[in-house]
Structures are given as C-alpha cells and as structure tokens.
Amino acid sequence: MRTALALGLSLAMSLSMSAAAHAQSGAAEGQKLAFDRGKGNCLTCHEIKGGDLPGSIGPKLENLKGRYDRAELTAILNDETVRNPLTVMPPFGRNRILTEQEISAIVDFLQTL
C-alpha cells in the first residue's frame, strides 16, 4: 500500500519534471528517501553527511563518486547478497522495500557523496 502510493507519487513527479531538472531534484528526493525511517533508513547502519547520529554497521558513505558507477550502486541497492552472501544489507529492490524509481533517486543522491 505504502509502496504503491510512493510509486504513484514518484511517477507523477518524474512526469512533471523536465529531464534536466530531474537529476538534481532526484538527488534531493533520494536523500529524503535515504533518511526516511520507513524507506531506505540508511542512517541505521551508515554514516552519511547531513544525517544525525548514524549507526555503525555499514561503511561510511563517502567518496562514492568515481568508486562506483550508477549500475553498481543500483545493483548494491537492489540485492547486495548477490555480491556478498553474508552482507546484512537488505535487498531493497528484490524484496520491494523500495521501487525502481526510489532506488534511482537514492542512486542520484549517493552519486553526490
């Protein structure tokens, strides 16, 4: 239900925006999704610039630009157990915690770090 609603919103947003504006506002939307406790909830495990009191399970998310391309980040968000069966990172795409559009927005945000 929540996912369906978010998908709808996300679609509506993408449609209403020009392609040029997309990446920038995608990153802003992505940050919101990354920090949202009901969505990415990334701060539970990762330290991220701009987020208060992060957890310590995952690596600090910094200098991602250049280290990972878009496809790699998308794959990690989608299902990191493919690369690392022991990871505790939830498979956000495979288990539909986040929609494709939401993952794309979060990747936009991660690429600004």
Partner: protein, 164 residues
C-alpha cells in the same frame, strides 16, 4: 564504583531493598486529603512556569531573574541517551546556601522538567530521570545565596534503529 563491580554491587542493594520494601509496605496508607506542606508560600506548585514553551520564559516565570554559568555545578548526563523516555540526569554543586535546583530541557514542548526545593540541611544534589523529545541542551539551574547559576550539557537523543 568500578564498571566491572558496579551492577553486582547494585544487585546486592536490591536484595537489601526487597526486605525493606516489605517492611515499609505495612505503613502505607492512601491519603484522602491533599498533603500538608510546610506553611510557606514557597511551596505552591509553579503552574505557570511549567506551561512555558521555551527555556527563557520558563526560567523567567520560575525565578524572575537571569542566570550565569558556574563551574561549581556538576551536571551529569549521558552523551547519547539510550532512550529519550528515560534519561538519567543528576546535579551536584559546591555552591553555598542552595535553596533550589531545577532542570530545563530546552527543546522539549515545555522546557521546565522539574524543580526541587532544597531546605537547609538538605544536600544540594539531585538525581532524576527525565523525558527528552529530541537532542537538546539540558540546563541545570542552582539557586544559591539568592543568585541563579547554571550548567548546560547537550544530550543527544535519537530514534531506534529499526524502521517505522
């Protein structure tokens, strides 16, 4: 108390306390009238001060005067609260002639949390457990010799890890 012996020492205290509770339980009675306070106006509940939203207004309503920071006040509070609902906070002071100690949580919906009257003969030290809505400065106010002193410490409060 050392970190390793601490809890066990406390456990012994609890054991001692269990017998004590049983003893004093016999003397308990529910009051039907309001408790009788010493007959001074000082003991009236400061309703207005507890209704103030921000720290400055609450301090003004409670004390009607400014405060200055003092290194003679030791405010003991955690860096990160393990839970915002129960934050142990304690104050001790070497200031003389203390008449009251109050606790302000600046970012709470109502800033004043608790205020304690310290009559002569009572040690100027209080420990209590407070609720904190979010990360905030905690201000301990000590009224000493008719003046108001303070110590401030930030306590971080965060949400639990598991998502909503």
């Amino acid at each position: 108390m050392t970190a390793s012996s601490g809890p066990w020492a406390n456990r012994r205290l609890i054991l001692k306390g269990a017998g004590l509770v049983a003893l004093i339980g016999l003397g308990n009675a529910v009051l039907h009238a309001a408790p009788v306070f010493a007959a001074t106006n000082d003991n009236k509940y400061p309703e207005d001060a507890f209704k103030q939203k921000n720290a400055g207004d609450a301090i003004k309503a409670l004390y009607g005067r400014d405060h200055e920071a003092s290194d003679k006040i030791k405010l003991d509070a955690p860096e990160i609260a393990e839970n915002g609902g129960v934050v142990p906070i304690a104050v001790t002071t070497s200031l003389p002639n203390v008449t009251s100690i109050s606790f302000i949580v600046a970012e709470n919906p109502f800033a004043l949390a608790a205020s304690y009257h310290i009559p002569e003969g009572t040690v100027p030290a209080v420990a209590n457990r407070l609720k904190m809505a979010k990360t905030s400065n905690v201000i301990a106010l000590v009224e000493s010799g008719g003046k108001l002193y303070s110590a401030t410490k930030e306590v971080k409060v965060t949400v639990g890890g598991c998502g909503g």
